[in-house]
């Protein structure tokens, strides 16, 4: 039933080092190496290739954040970890869509990963709220917020970019934007 996936599969420690060093090539090799396994799981359990993409990327993000946060222990194989997370995520998605027949066709061994998935779920809720708040915020506030808080641009740069005559004006503008963004963020249920 299970087809061995060919290609240059990075070793587990390679992956961890690669993520810590922001290596693009390792991330790519990791992604390419295990995607077929997840695709196989999803499309043979009532899912589409697009579902597989969503689920797999979420799992990669979970792994990525875990490694970045320094709490990924190689207690089980990385492959098993990814498979287990995807499996858990997919089961959740299936039950949300009321498509879950109570049975899933498995292709690998798996381990319980409920904590990771729950934590990710909480984060996702926060991010969705943030995304919506930023959309509602509108320009130029949105770009100012992104530049300062995400892209770590200095007030000086922002000042030049938006053509503010002095830094104080820019700071006031930034403050107002932030207050609105917080309001929009916390207003959401």
């Amino acid at each position: 039933m299970y087809k061995e996936i060919k290609g240059s599969i990075p070793t587990d420690s390679e992956v961890i080092l690669g993520i810590l060093n922001n290596s693009e090539s390792v991330l790519k090799r990791l992604y390419v190496a295990y995607f077929p396994m997840v695709l196989q799981l999803i499309i043979n359990n009532n899912g589409t290739p697009d579902d597989a993409k969503d689920i797999y990327q979420e799992a990669i993000i979970i792994l990525y954040n875990k490694v970045k946060a320094g709490d990924f222990e190689l207690s089980s194989k990385l492959k098993t970890f990814l498979y287990s997370v995807c499996r858990r995520l997919w089961l959740k998605r299936l039950s949300q869509m009321a498509r879950y027949g109570g049975d899933i066709r498995d292709f690998h061994e798996y381990s319980p990963v409920d904590d990771e998935v729950e934590r990710q779920n909480d984060m996702d809720i926060q991010f969705n709220k943030m995304g919506a708040a930023l959309q509602l915020l509108g320009e130029p506030c949105k770009t100012i917020m992104e530049d300062f808080y995400i892209n770590n641009r200095s007030m000086q740069e922002i000042c030049e970019r938006f053509g503010y005559t002095n830094a104080d004006n820019a700071k006031t503008q930034k403050y107002k934007c932030l207050q609105r963004l917080k309001k929009l963020f916390f207003q959401q249920k």
């Binding site: 087809k3 995607f35 499309i43 991010f127 917020m145 808080y149 995400i150 403050y175 963020f185």
Partner: protein, 361 residues
């Protein structure tokens, strides 16, 4: 300090941009003022979420770029476990199939309901018939016990078909049609009945020759068909004309075998649908020759029917004892159907094919 200024201070503090002295002072302020402390914590948390949100978007963009390089379609084809055709058909279309099936069931039930077939009439009818025969049995037992011969009203128990073999009223039919007859009537295409008697029978060949004895009977005129002495070829087109119902019925088909049931050389096997009442009908080829006498359906097999070969009929006619007729029967040798098409042939047959009505005791 206004809020905007405070925010700037908080951010400088969180980003570690304060000089050690300034930082110490700020920490003192923080400790002394819970409102400010909460503000700091809240801002720190919010800025963190915003930052993580940004990182997340960036990571997703990277992953999407990687994903776009994968040929997902081919991979999916490879990895899909293909269930058997029927299973996948069911999986993909089970709702449609279910709807179609329910509509079909509904349609059948409503048709049955509307036509009244749902109410089990068939079996009632069967029961009724059984009761009648039961009653009849009882009556006969009673009659036998009392030695009485009760008068029985005559009804035409059997019907068959017969056809003229001479213009003076000799009619050929099946022996099984007239077997056990009390009286026999023949009715022509115009609906006029004539009394007939069974002149001669050959039970082994299932042939009977009747003679019209009714005084109202007039000569039929020259018989239009002739009788084929040789055997017909396989696949020869043939047709019948008989009385399975009150009006004559035409049916056509082919000679499908030169032997009948169980290889019986008496019969042809023909591919003409035969109904009760067709027995004794002429089997005629396209040139207007009588090639057989339809004998009926002898098995439950669909589309397997039999006709007695005309040579046996000719033999039977020759075997009629001369003392029962005035002279030996001379069969017609002048075929007037040969040049006609089937429609015209059938039109001519009307006067020479009779419904045979049999009344038994």
């Amino acid at each position: 300090m206004n809020d905007s200024k405070l925010l700037e201070e908080i951010e400088r503090y969180l980003n570690g941009e304060m000089a050690p002295e300034e930082r110490k002072q700020f920490e003192l302020l923080r400790k002394g003022d819970t409102a400010i402390n909460n503000k700091i914590a809240e801002h720190e948390e919010f800025a963190k979420i915003l930052k993580q949100y940004g990182d997340r978007l960036a990571l997703e963009t990277r992953l999407n770029a990687i994903h776009d390089e994968i040929d997902v379609h081919t991979l999916a084809e490879e990895l899909m476990i293909h269930p058997s055709r029927i299973v996948s058909l069911w999986r993909n279309h089970h709702s449609k199939i279910s709807v179609a099936a329910s509509i079909a069931i509904f349609a059948i039930l409503s048709t049955l309901f509307i036509t009244g077939n749902l109410s089990n009439q068939e079996s009632k009818y069967l029961l009724l018939r059984r009761e009648v025969s039961l009653l009849k049995q009882k009556t006969e037992t009673l009659k036998a016990a009392q030695g009485i011969k009760a008068p029985v009203r005559a009804t035409d128990r059997f019907r068959g078909t017969g056809f003229a073999i001479t213009s003076n009223g000799l009619i050929a039919t099946n022996y099984h049609v007239v077997n056990g007859a009390d009286s026999v009537y023949v009715q022509n295409g115009a609906g006029k009945s004539f009394k007939a008697k069974v002149l001669y029978t050959e039970p082994e060949n299932d042939i009977a020759i009747l003679k019209i004895v009714d005084t109202s009977f007039r000569n039929l005129g020259a018989i239009p068909y002739t009788f084929k002495k040789s055997e017909s070829e396989l696949a020869e087109a043939v047709y019948t004309y008989g009385y399975p119902q009150d009006s004559p019925v035409f049916n056509e088909g082919r000679v499908t075998s030169a032997v009948g049931l169980n290889g019986d050389s008496l019969d042809y096997q023909i591919s003409i649908p035969i109904n009760a009442g067709d027995s004794g009908s002429p089997l005629i080829d396209s040139k207007g020759n009588i090639v057989g006498v339809v004998q009926g359906k002898q098995t439950q097999l669909e589309g397997v029917h039999f006709a007695v070969k005309s040579s046996y009929l000719i033999n039977a006619i020759q075997n009629i004892p001369v003392d029962s007729i005035n002279k030996k029967v001379a069969l017609n040798t002048k075929n007037t159907l040969g040049n006609l098409n089937t429609v015209q042939q059938v039109k001519k047959l009307k006067n020479y094919v009779f419904m045979v009505k049999v009344y038994d005791k």
